[in-house]
């Protein structure tokens, strides 16, 4: 079989495993699984911005928060959560465009702090505007939806809803990356100056990278609020943005599978390693350090890294040069 076929087979097996997984889980596990799916979906959005377009963002939790609050407003207003989906996508797209503007001026750590500052401002608004957001207490009792008399309230059904969200967002991201847009993003990341000289509109694509990444996270956020059942500002603070960035980087930024792996390390692994208690996060921090030192491409890049290490060093100096 060719490499392409192997890859297709791998994707099919992954989908089959993901579809079968909820049958083996009980209530708590199902909620955890749904949480993994949504964090992975938000991570796919962030990966577009960070991994493919090369723009650092520490403001991604704010987009998740926009989606979650919009969904809570819609549900509390007595509508369903569905109108919140286009509303969140639109709001996050527009705010993402605005957040992209600093990226036109500055890069790297400056951009990291600018976006972290944005997230902190959003957090302040969520905490202080009590008339709208309920302040520190947040919004309680956010019910899951019922569609045409078919209840999605039980954890089993809702886990599949969240898996569906992940599938749709992954499909959108896949489509974007295969389109000329995706190629322009990669050009932007690898060499902005060359990209510009080849006719890529660097301004527009930088802004789009933030806008699309934000919109995808916003959609994930809409489903996040009913999953947990309540929301408060601390669920969308700058610290959560930092976690999201670490999740994408640990999984492998710029790799399609990266956010799914990273979200597993960030969401599922702590449950299995519960006996470690607070030491789990120490190990997680050490894992980030170790990956950055030996394999900056993250877990997704680990097989290739190991293969490079295992391959015998070329003897011919000319071969080594290539």
């Amino acid at each position: 079989m060719t490499a392409g076929r192997w890859r297709l087979l791998g994707v099919l097996v992954l989908i089959a495993v993901l579809l079968a997984f909820p049958f083996f889980l009980r209530n708590y596990g199902l909620n955890l699984y749904a949480r993994w799916a949504l964090i992975a979906a938000a991570g796919i959005g962030l990966n577009l911005t960070v991994g493919y377009a090369g723009q650092v963002s520490l403001g991604h939790a704010a987009f998740l928060g926009f989606g979650a609050y919009l969904s809570a407003f819609a549900i509390k207003a007595g509508w369903t959560m569905w109108p919140a989906i286009p509303a969140a996508a639109l709001l996050c797209f527009v705010v993402g465009l605005a957040l992209g503007f600093p990226a036109l001026r500055v890069q790297h750590h400056y951009l990291a702090f600018a976006t972290l500052g944005f997230n902190a401002l959003v957090f302040l608004a969520m905490r202080n505007e009590e008339w709208l957001t309920g302040g520190n207490y947040g919004i309680q009792r956010i019910l899951r939806p019922v569609v045409f008399g078919w209840s999605l309230r039980d954890s089993f059904s809702y886990a599949y809803v969240c898996l569906g969200v992940l599938a749709v967002i992954a499909a959108i991201a896949w489509w974007i990356l295969r389109s000329p847009w995706g190629r322009a993003f990669a050009a932007l990341r690898d060499n902005p100056i060359r990209a510009e000289s080849l006719g890529v509109n660097v301004r527009a694509y930088t802004l789009l990278a933030f806008a699309i990444g934000g919109a995808l996270a916003g959609i994930a956020g809409v489903f996040f609020a009913p999953l947990i059942g309540y929301i408060d500002p601390h669920m969308f603070s700058g610290l959560v943005s930092i976690d999201l960035l670490l999740i994408v980087i640990v999984g492998g930024s710029g790799r399609f599978i990266g956010p799914l792996l990273g979200a597993a390390v960030g969401v599922l692994l702590p449950e299995w390693l519960r006996f470690m208690g607070d030491w789990y996060l120490v190990a997680f921090g050490a894992l980030v350090l170790a990956l950055m030192a030996w394999c900056p491409t993250g877990l997704a890049g680990l097989p290739e890294r190991v293969a490079t290490l295992l391959r015998p060093a070329p003897r011919d100096p000319a071969e080594r040069a290539t």
Binding site: P102, R105, A112, F113, A114, I193, L281, G285, V288, L289
Partner: protein, 292 residues
């Protein structure tokens, strides 16, 4: 008016502490292109070393602080530089920045799991009672913080301007290649700045912990404010980071008192974003060549 003076003085005192942390941040950037996201945790750790020493051996505060200073310089200066920065910086500045986020997570939770998740009282360097000058009450702790931070920063400036090592460090920061060709051991100079950063962080820990209390996550907000200060002031210059710290401290105090207590951080963040958009080199920084 009296309120105003008190607010400015206490803002300056807090700002001077931010400045200590921000200056260290700026020094690391200048000599090594290293962005340290664990800067707040570098303040938290010495505070816990002091606490642990006092608790375990019943040491007086000054002795515990002196030992903590040495420990900090060795671990957060030398070891951090050799084991983490030297290993990861060749992969890129942003990779190192991410690694230091991981380091911050590990340090915070290491203290939480290994020592305590609670907030602990911390012995004060200066008495808390207020003194009155010209009818205005000032807290001695604020005055003491200002003086000690001033001494530390003044001493650092004198060291940088008037000693051979200090001038070599400046040369290494300004133009690495030229400094190398003049025979300056650039790597050693970088190592010194890591030691200085750790020492400044320890001083900041002694000043800030009596009022913040020692807690594993105390570095989060402190580190953030120091970053904001460094960027607002301009972190390619030591003076920029100093002014940035003072501006942030006074601005958040005054905005909290006169404009909106619940949005006082918001004014600092708004200033940060305006500076990044319109003067990315910082209010007091010199413009850097844009790196391709």
């Amino acid at each position: 008016m009296i309120d105003f003076v008190q607010l400015v003085v206490s803002g300056l005192a807090t700002g001077a502490i931010y400045a200590l942390v921000a200056i260290g941040f700026a020094l690391l950037w200048q000599t090594s292109n290293a962005v340290n996201f664990a800067q707040g945790e570098f303040v938290m750790l010495p505070a816990f070393v002091v606490l642990a020493l006092i608790k375990a051996f019943d040491l007086p505060l000054w002795l515990a602080a002196a030992i903590a200073l040495v420990v900090a310089v060795v671990i957060m200066g030398g070891l951090f530089k050799r084991a983490i920065v030297d290993a990861i910086l060749p992969q890129g500045a942003m990779t190192l920045a991410i690694a230091t986020i991981g380091l911050a997570v590990a340090m915070k939770n290491g203290v939480r799991a290994g020592y305590s998740a609670e907030a602990h009282p911390f012995p004060a360097l200066f008495p808390v009672e207020p003194i009155r000058i010209l009818g205005v009450g000032f807290s001695l702790a604020d005055i003491g913080a200002l003086v000690l931070a001033g001494v530390a920063i003044g001493g650092l400036s004198l060291f940088l301007a008037h000693t051979l090592a200090g001038r070599q460090m400046q040369a290494a920061a300004q133009n690495r290649d030229a400094a190398l060709s003049l025979g300056i051991d650039v790597d050693r100079m970088a190592l010194y700045t890591f030691g200085i950063n750790a020492a400044l962080a320890t001083v900041a820990a002694l000043l800030v912990t009596p009022s913040y209390l020692a807690k594993f996550d105390m570095g989060e907000s402190l580190g953030l404010y120091a970053f904001y200060a460094a960027i607002i002031g301009g972190f390619n210059r030591v003076l920029g980071a100093l002014w940035g710290g003072l501006i942030v401290g006074v601005l958040s105090n005054l905005a909290g008192a006169y404009l909106s207590a619940s949005y006082k951080d918001g004014f600092v963040l708004a200033l940060l974003i305006v500076v990044i958009l319109f003067r990315p080199e910082g209010l007091f920084g010199s413009s850097e060549e844009r790196k391709v």
